[in-house]
Amino acid sequence: MNLKAGPVAIAVKALFTAMYGVPILWIVLTSFKRSQDVFGTQSSLLFHPTLQAYQDAIDGALFTAMGQSATIALGTTVLVLLVAIPAGYGLARTTGWLPSFGLGLLIVLQMMPQTANVIPLFQIFGRWHLLDETFGVVLADAALLVPFATLLLRPFFRAVPPQMEEAGAIDGAGVFRTFWSLVLPVARNGVFTVGTLVFLLAWGEFLYAVNFFLAPAHYPLSALLASQVSAFGINWPGLMALAVLTSIPILVVFTATYRLLRDGLTVGAVK
C-alpha cells in the first residue's frame, strides 16, 4: 500500500482534525470563561481564564450525581457481563433452531429504538415500585445493553479452539469448570472490550434516567447535562464545566483501553 500521504489525504486529515479537535478544544476553553466572555470573537482565544464555572458547578449535588453515574455505570456493567458472558458462550457453542432463534431475536432487540422501550417500562416500573430507584435504571440499562454485549462476545468465544475444551473434557472437567477455567481466560480480551463499551454506554445513557427518576436530585451526570442543555437561558461556561467533569472518567477509561477498543471493535469485521 502506498503509505505516503498525498495532498488529498492531507486535506482530509486536516478537515477531520478541525472537525474533531475544535469541539473538544471549545468545551475546555469555554469551561474556563466567565459568562460574559463566552460570545464574540475577540475573547474566543484570548481571555482571562477563571475557575468560576467549576467553583459554581462543584457542590454537594454534583458529587451526588457523580455517585449516581458511577453506581449506574458499574452496576450495569456487572449485571450485563454476568448475563451476557454465559449467553455469548452458549450461542457460540450450540447449534439448532433455538440458538438461531435467539441470535435473530438479539439482533432485533439491539436495533430497537430506546424511545419504544421507555414507554412501556415507565408503566411497568410504576407498577413494580421501581420508579425513582437507582436499581430500576440499572435493570433498564442492562436490558438495553445485554443484546449488544452478547452479540459482541459471541465471536470472541467462537475464536477459542474447541480442541481446548475437548482436552478439558478428557481430563474430566465438567462443562462449567471447562468454561470457567479454560475458555474464559482465553476470551478475556473480549470480556474487557465488551465491559469497557458497556461502561461507556451506561455512563452516557440519559433517557431512562431522565424519565425513571422523578426528581433531578437523583439524576446521574448525563441526565443533569441533558436537562440543563434543553432548558432556556443556558449558562454555557457552567454547562461546559459540567461536560468536562462528565467526560473525565471517559478520558480515564479511554486512555486505559484505547488499544483494546481500536482492535477489539474491528477484530473480525474483515476476517
Binding site: 482530509v12 470573537t41 447449534t95 445485554v146 452479540l151 470472541f156 463499551l197
Partner: protein, 319 residues
C-alpha cells in the same frame, strides 16, 4: 458514546474453528445441549425487561391510555390511535423527516467514514493521534457532543462567527431554529458521532488487503485514485454492506442529539418517528398515541433487521 452498537465481528466463523469429523465430536455434541443452560439468565432478563414491555407497548398502542389511566384499566380502541396519528398528519410528516434524516446520516456517515479510513491508513504520528482523537470523541456521551455542537452552531457561536467574518454569509445561519436547517444540523451531528466508528471498521478492512496487491499496482504505474477505485473500494464492499445497514439503523433509532440540540423543534421540525412517539407519551401524556407511533418504529426495525440478516449472510457467502 454513540455506537451503531452492533458487532460486525465474527472472527470465529471460519469453518476451521469448528470441530472436524476426525475429532471425538460425540462428547462435544452431547455436552453442547448442556450449554443451552448458559442462555437461561439472558432469556429471563430479556423476557421480563424487553419482550414483556414490547407486548405491553403493542397493547397500549391499541388502547386509550393517558397518564391518569396508566395503571388502571385500558379501554380497547382498536386502530383509533394509529388513525389519529395519520389523520393529524403527525405520523406521515415524521416519517418523511425520518427518511430525510436517515439519508443524510447514512450518506455522510459512510462516505466520510470511508474517506477518513483511506486518509488514516497511512502510518505516522498525525494519523495515529487523529484516530485516537476520533475514537475518543466517539466514546464521549452523546449529551456532551450534542451540547458542544449546540453551542458551536448558535447565532453567535463559532461556526456563524467564522461564516460572517469570512463574508460567506451576511447574517448568521439559523442552524437550530429554521425548520430545514435544524433537521440538517442534527443529522450532521449524528453523522459526526458515527464517522469514527465507521472509519475504524473501514480502516481495519483496508489494513487487511495483501500488501503484494499494492506492490503489483505500483509496478503497473497505478495512480492513487486508481488504487482507491480498483483495489480499496472492491476490498471494502462486504464491509460497506454491513456498515450501511448499521448506519441506517443508527440514524433511524437516534434520539439523543435531537433531545439535546432541538428537543424536536423548532415546532415539529426535528420530530422523527422515534422522537415523536416519545413526545406524545411523555410530553403530551397520551401513552396510547405514543405507543402506536412507537409500534410503527418497531415495524421499521423488523424490516431493517431482515435486511441486516440478509447482508450478513451475503457477506459470509461472498468470501
Amino acid at each position: 458514546m454513540s455506537a451503531p452498537a452492533a458487532p460486525v465481528t465474527r472472527p470465529g466463523d471460519r469453518p476451521a474453528a469448528r470441530p472436524t469429523a476426525s475429532r471425538p465430536a460425540y462428547r462435544v455434541g452431547r455436552r453442547s445441549q448442556v450449554r443451552l443452560l448458559f442462555l437461561a439468565p439472558a432469556a429471563v432478563l430479556l423476557g421480563v425487561l424487553s419482550i414483556y414491555p414490547l407486548a405491553q407497548l403493542v397493547r397500549m398502542a391499541f388502547s386509550a391510555v393517558t397518564v391518569a389511566t396508566l395503571n388502571a384499566h385500558w379501554d380497547w380502541v382498536g386502530l383509533a390511535n394509529v388513525r389519529a396519528g395519520w389523520v393529524s398528519g403527525d405520523t406521515p410528516h415524521a416519517l418523511v423527516r425520518t427518511v430525510v434524516f436517515v439519508a443524510v446520516v447514512t450518506a455522510l456517515g459512510t462516505g466520510l467514514g470511508l474517506a477518513g479510513a483511506i486518509a488514516l491508513r497511512t502510518r505516522g504520528r498525525w494519523s495515529g493521534v487523529l484516530l485516537a482523537l476520533m475514537v475518543f470523541v466517539w466514546a464521549l456521551p452523546p449529551v456532551v457532543n450534542g451540547s458542544v455542537w449546540k453551542f458551536l452552531l448558535g447565532d453567535t457561536g463559532l461556526v456563524n462567527t467564522v461564516l460572517v467574518h469570512t463574508g460567506l454569509r451576511a447574517l448568521p445561519a439559523p442552524f437550530l431554529y429554521d425548520q430545514y436547517w435544524a433537521l440538517g444540523a442534527v443529522a450532521f451531528v449524528n453523522s459526526f458521532a458515527v464517522i469514527p466508528f465507521n472509519a475504524l471498521v473501514y480502516r481495519a478492512a483496508l489494513l487487511n488487503i495483501e500488501p503484494e496487491i499494492f506492490e503489483a499496482a505500483a509496478i503497473d504505474g497505478a495512480s492513487r485514485w486508481q488504487e482507491i477505485r480498483h483495489i480499496m473500494m472492491p476490498a471494502v464492499r462486504p464491509t460497506s454492506l454491513v456498515l450501511l445497514v448499521l448506519t441506517i439503523v443508527y440514524g433511524f433509532r437516534s434520539f439523543d442529539f435531537i433531545y439535546v440540540m432541538t428537543y424536536g423543534g423548532p415546532g415539529t421540525a426535528t420530530n422523527t418517528l422515534p422522537f415523536l412517539g416519545y413526545l406524545q407519551a411523555f410530553v403530551r401524556y397520551d401513552f396510547g398515541l405514543g405507543s402506536s407511533t412507537s409500534v410503527v418504529t418497531v415495524l421499521g426495525v423488523l424490516v431493517l433487521a431482515a435486511v441486516y440478516a440478509r447482508s450478513i449472510r451475503r457477506e459470509e457467502s461472498g468470501r
